[in-house]
């Protein structure tokens, strides 16, 4: 075999290996979905959504968990959206290039790389103890809001950056102020991209487990929360609790809970992708 043939064979071998490598992750995802479907699908019923957690696996449900997740999602959104979008606007539209802008940028990249459990420690000492929020929905939401803030800020900046300068200049030429220009022209033009980022950030927030455990979310809550000051649990923590038990019946519950959690996550990510594609097709500057 000459050199020429060897290198052609190597090239084809790599092609096969690379396709195999690409498939590995997708195959694993397939096995995961099949396994969870087989274990948990038969457990899903109306009663599963309306029952409180229980010592007996067959009676246990996810009522407190999904209500808690809903509370956390809404409260986190209320906190993270104005701060994240505001910070994005400031960085992209207002701040001058300089030391402070550079510092902020490095800071945001750093925050994005901090392990989520560290945010839990911050939440525990600052929100739970120092601000006396207790182990409440409010403390959990503030913690998660800080966690997803970099995602919201980065996507806001990217979307604002994509709005052409001419739009701003036209608005200034008509006598609009900086804020009027930003609020009435630039933000609506960037809304699709910003929404995509917000949805992705919230989807990340509802999948988080570790920081909420550290903040003191409970693994067993016998009631649904009535206000942001109540203690709470969320879907991932309920799943974690069931997975950690030795009895096999609880693993069935965990699989059923995972189906619900995955459906929510996939729906949100799907919505984000669709929104992004429609936006890109719609807006042609």
């Amino acid at each position: 075999m000459n050199n020429e043939q060897v290198k052609t064979i190597k090239n084809s071998a790599f092609r096969i290996w690379a396709i195999a490598a690409t498939s590995v992750g997708l195959i694993m995802l397939g096995i995961l979905l099949v396994k969870i479907g087989m274990d948990g699908l038969h457990r899903i019923s109306m009663a599963f959504f309306t029952s409180l957690p229980s010592r007996r696996a067959e009676n246990a449900g996810i009522l407190t968990a999904w209500v808690g997740t809903l509370w956390i999602m809404v409260t986190t959104a209320v906190i993270a959206i104005p701060i994240g979008v505001g910070a994005g606007i400031y960085l992209e539209e207002y701040s001058r290039k300089g030391a402070w802008a550079n510092f902020l940028e490095i800071n945001i990249s750093n925050l994005a790389g901090v392990p989520s459990i560290i945010y839990g420690l911050l939440g525990l000492e600052f929100f739970v103890r120092f601000l006396h929020m207790g182990e409440s929905i409010l403390a959990g939401s503030f913690t998660l809001a800080l966690l997803v803030l970099p995602i919201v800020i980065v996507s806001t900046r990217e979307s604002l950056k994509a709005v052409p300068k001419t739009i701003r200049e036209a608005s200034y030429a008509l006598g609009a102020s900086k804020w009027q220009t930003t609020w009435m022209q630039v933000l609506p033009a960037a809304a699709g991209g910003i929404m995509t980022g917000i949805i992705l950030a919230l989807s990340r927030a509802i999948g988080e487990t570790a920081p909420l455990i550290v903040v003191g979310a409970l693994t067993y809550v016998p009631f649904t929360p009535k206000s942001v000051f109540d203690s709470f649990t969320v879907l991932p923590i309920q799943i974690f609790n069931w997975v950690s038990r030795p009895q096999a019946e609880f693993l069935v519950n965990a699989a059923a809970g995972i189906i619900v959690l995955l459906l929510i996550t996939i729906a949100m990510n799907g919505a984000a992708v669709i929104l992004r594609n429609r936006w890109q097709k719609h807006v042609k500057w």
């Binding site: 995802l29 910070a87 902020l104 900086k178």
Partner: protein, 305 residues
């Protein structure tokens, strides 16, 4: 301004104040990020300083046992760090060859259609909540490994390490692919003109040219794996031990923090402070890794054009 009628001047003045207030608010939003960083550092430092006033740093760094919750207390971080290191190394050993091959394939071989279908599918892997991966490691991967190696314990470092590796594949593949894709075309054409195959061009021309981007992706993946919590908390066990054996139960830094948070350790006790000392160790390592990657990205940014 003096030429303006009284009313208009007042209007502009009011508008000016409103503009200033809004700018102030937006500035405050961006300052939240800085305050978050300062808050994290302050919280970790304050609690850790109290911890180190009771436990000398030397024994924290050199003691080979970590038993703060037992009667015979030892506070050596090494067993936890070795657990974190072990699972991270397994994850990277899995993720690096897979992720890099996928990146090269998507950037150099695949058609546009294939690329735009596969990339978002891989990104689903990164969007799955980690508690789901923990379940997968415990109920699918561990039994699968035990079928071939019956000696492997029900909780071990291998299974969560492998699953974590698959989880971070998209991180490496997508960042590396961006770096490879950005290498200008004429470099490839030069290689092809000399008679190289696609593989030779990829490995000897494109990959070296994109090396800094690839290194950055790997560093970020390492940092991500070290901070991962739920997969190891579910499937790796909760037994801190100084070992590099992937078949026995271990405990990572992150798992320890979860373990203490689930129990009821009184606020202000030495046990309570241990989670902040452990958290500080983790934070310092990931912070260094992240900043090394920023530095590389900035310093070795390829500029060909």
């Amino acid at each position: 301004m003096t030429l303006l009628p009284q009313k208009a001047a007042g209007f502009y003045c009011k508008m000016n104040i409103k503009e200033k207030i809004i700018e102030g608010f937006l500035f405050a939003c961006s300052a939240v990020c800085v305050l978050t960083t300062l808050g994290i550092i302050a919280v970790l430092l304050v609690q850790s300083v109290q911890f180190f006033s009771e436990v000398p740093i030397s024994s924290f760094l050199t003691d080979t046992q970590w038993t703060p919750l037992f009667a015979d207390k030892h506070f050596g971080i090494l067993p936890l760090l070795s657990g974190t290191l072990l699972t991270t190394v397994i994850a990277i050993v899995i993720a690096l060859p897979l992720g890099l091959s996928i990146a090269i394939y998507l950037s150099e071989y695949a058609s546009k259609g294939f690329r735009s279908t596969v990339k978002p599918m891989l990104e689903i892997l990164a969007a799955v909540p980690t508690v789901v991966y923990g379940f997968f490691a415990l109920t699918v991967v561990t039994p699968f490994i035990q079928k071939f190696f019956p000696g492997v314990a029900g909780f071990n470092a291998l299974s969560p390490g492998i699953v974590m590796g698959l989880m971070i594949v998209p991180l490496i593949s997508s960042l590396s692919e961006d770096a490879l894709y950005a290498v200008p075309r004429h470099l490839r054409e030069g290689a092809y003109a000399l008679g190289s195959t696609t593989l030779q061009t990829s490995l000897r021309v494109v990959m070296p040219a994109a090396s800094s981007g690839i290194i950055v992706s790997v560093i970020l993946a390492i940092s991500r794996a070290m901070g991962e919590t739920m997969i190891v908390a579910i499937a790796a066990g909760q037994q801190p031990r100084l070992t590099l054996d992937p078949t026995v139960p271990i405990e990572t830094v992150t798992t320890y923090i979860v373990q203490v948070s689930l129990g009821d350790v009184p606020h202000g006790s030495l046990e309570y402070k241990t989670i902040f000392a452990a958290g500080l160790s983790l934070f310092v390592i990931t912070f260094l890794l992240n900043n090394i990657s920023f530095y590389i990205k900035k310093k070795y940014r390829e500029a060909y054009e």
